[in-house]
Amino acid sequence: MTPTDPNAELILLVEDTPSLRMMYGASLSRNGLTVEACGTAREALEAFQRLHPPVVLLDLTLPDGTGLEVMREMLALRPRTCVIVITANGSINKAVEMMRAGAYEFLVKPFDDQRLLAAVRNALAARHHRPAPRSSAGAADPAEADPPAPFIGNSPAMRAVYAKIRSVARSMATVFITGESGTGKELCAEAVHAASPRAHGPFIALNCGAIPADLLESEVFGHLRGSFTGAISDKPGAAAAADGGTLFLDEVCEMDLNLQTKLLRFLQTSTVTPVGATRPRKVDVRIVCATNRNPLDEVRAGRFREDLYYRLHVVPIHLPPLRERGDDVNLIARRLLVEMAREEDRRFTGISDEVAAIFRSLPWPGNVRQVINVLRNVVVLNDGDEVLPEMLPPDLRGAPPPAAAAEPGAPAGPSLNGDPLSGLAGLTLAQIERLAIEAAIARHGGSLPRAAVELDVSPSTLYRKRDAWEKADREG
């Protein structure tokens, strides 16, 4: 094809079926893009070397080679090229393989011209935000050694996670985050968003496990006024609210099968239909999801759709538990301790060597969230320059809970496991409630549902309170 506008962005289109090549090319051309089209791997590589296109649309199956081989050669020559893979339905696994090998996005036939155009425009925009490629000597950019905010830690396990976040952030690939409770899955999603070309767009997080099942569809896709009892006004829904940005679906395995079907359709069509609406609406959203379950177990048990799993599980990121992160626990503890001390007007500036050794030895089933709970407990109930072992909750230092009766005149103990009234003087009711809830959660290894059983409240009550505390802590 002959370029008509020398300033138009150039797209290299590699598709072996002539009529499809004509369709895609015409669709892009009428939207102001310049298209160079070819039908074989050899032609594609020759055109790529000659024209240096910023974006390549590449069919997975070519008569003289595979899309994977072609893409590898292209990215070896020009790593910042955005390659959008075109695949037919049923080849999702191959598309996922391409994503892991460096593709920017994949399109599944059949797709309409709007979908095609959105993918190409996103890729062109992403090109302007791509980090500079590494030098030929292979030396790492020093900035890349720093953990992405707000992560803390430099263990080998987390450095691998940081590298993956940076690598996946610039593409549109769906990210699937797994890890135990309290490992920072939402932080990871925020880091992916912040490092992406969509950082200026909205980041909308939805905890699928905290919302009643009968309201979840409305929360995700929105509703129209009157569409059900209680729908007193129109509501856009999280997917529409995330238009232009990132939608984070936490505890995605909590979705029921009916809603999973609708989520799959959303992923396939990029349209949302609010509850009660008849007309779908196009949205441009990048999906990140997370679960603390094993998603494949959920698929095998029939609780999670296999096709949805493969659609979501494009780039997996697994967050290691704190016990596998070496001394990161102490880096985290020291940083958070200083912040909490400032909030609570305490003198703490660090932790003693004995406490550091205790922290390194603990299994931390509640992970970073458990560390936060422990530190909050210590800071609220104690003061000093350093956190000492006797300030830790008894179950952490291995000591039995203190005896119920204290000697007259003895200072109030810092434990919530003995006399629940001792040591609470001067605290507000909200602080006491928080201590009691956090202590229960810590006793149950970070499990909110089990803590809820002990406290005789619903799990959603504890999730709401925890979310409110985290928000308040972030806002300082």
């Binding site: 079926t17 002539p18 499809l20 004509m22 015409a26 669709s27 009428r30 037919a88 049923g90 036939k109």
Partner: protein
């Protein structure tokens, strides 16, 4: 010899609105050129899927799957996908079924009437 696809549904399933949307990507000249190219591709694929090695038939089935899905021939796309996924060798009966599906689609596209009843 008849071929019964296990999960391809009605192989004649066709949505003319999808084709119309695809053909509306440009003006009349482009529309005519596209129709001509689609017919040429279908004719080529009908020949390829009926002859040659199992590997060639599988590749042709893959191409039919993508093209048929894009122009609204959902049933033919599913049938072709099933043939593509068959274990070696690709069955002649299955290939013949796809070829017949392509013939019907060509007839439909070249007919001046509406979608034909099957």
């Amino acid at each position: 010899m008849s071929y019964t696809p296990s999960d391809a549904g009605d192989a004649s399933l066709f949505d003319p609105l999808t084709l119309d949307r695809v053909l509306s990507v440009g003006g009349q000249d482009l529309r005519e050129a596209l129709v001509t190219q689609i017919l040429a591709d279908l004719e080529r694929l009908r020949r390829e899927i009926g002859a040659g090695s199992s590997d060639l038939r599988r590749r042709a089935a893959h191409e039919v799957k993508g093209l048929a899905a894009t122009i609204g021939a959902e049933g033919l796309a599913r049938l072709a996908g099933q043939i593509e996924a068959e274990a070696e060798p690709v069955s002649e009966a299955g290939s013949l079924a796809v070829a017949q599906g392509i013939e019907r689609l060509i007839a439909r596209l070249t007919s001046k009437a509406g979608p034909a009843d099957e």
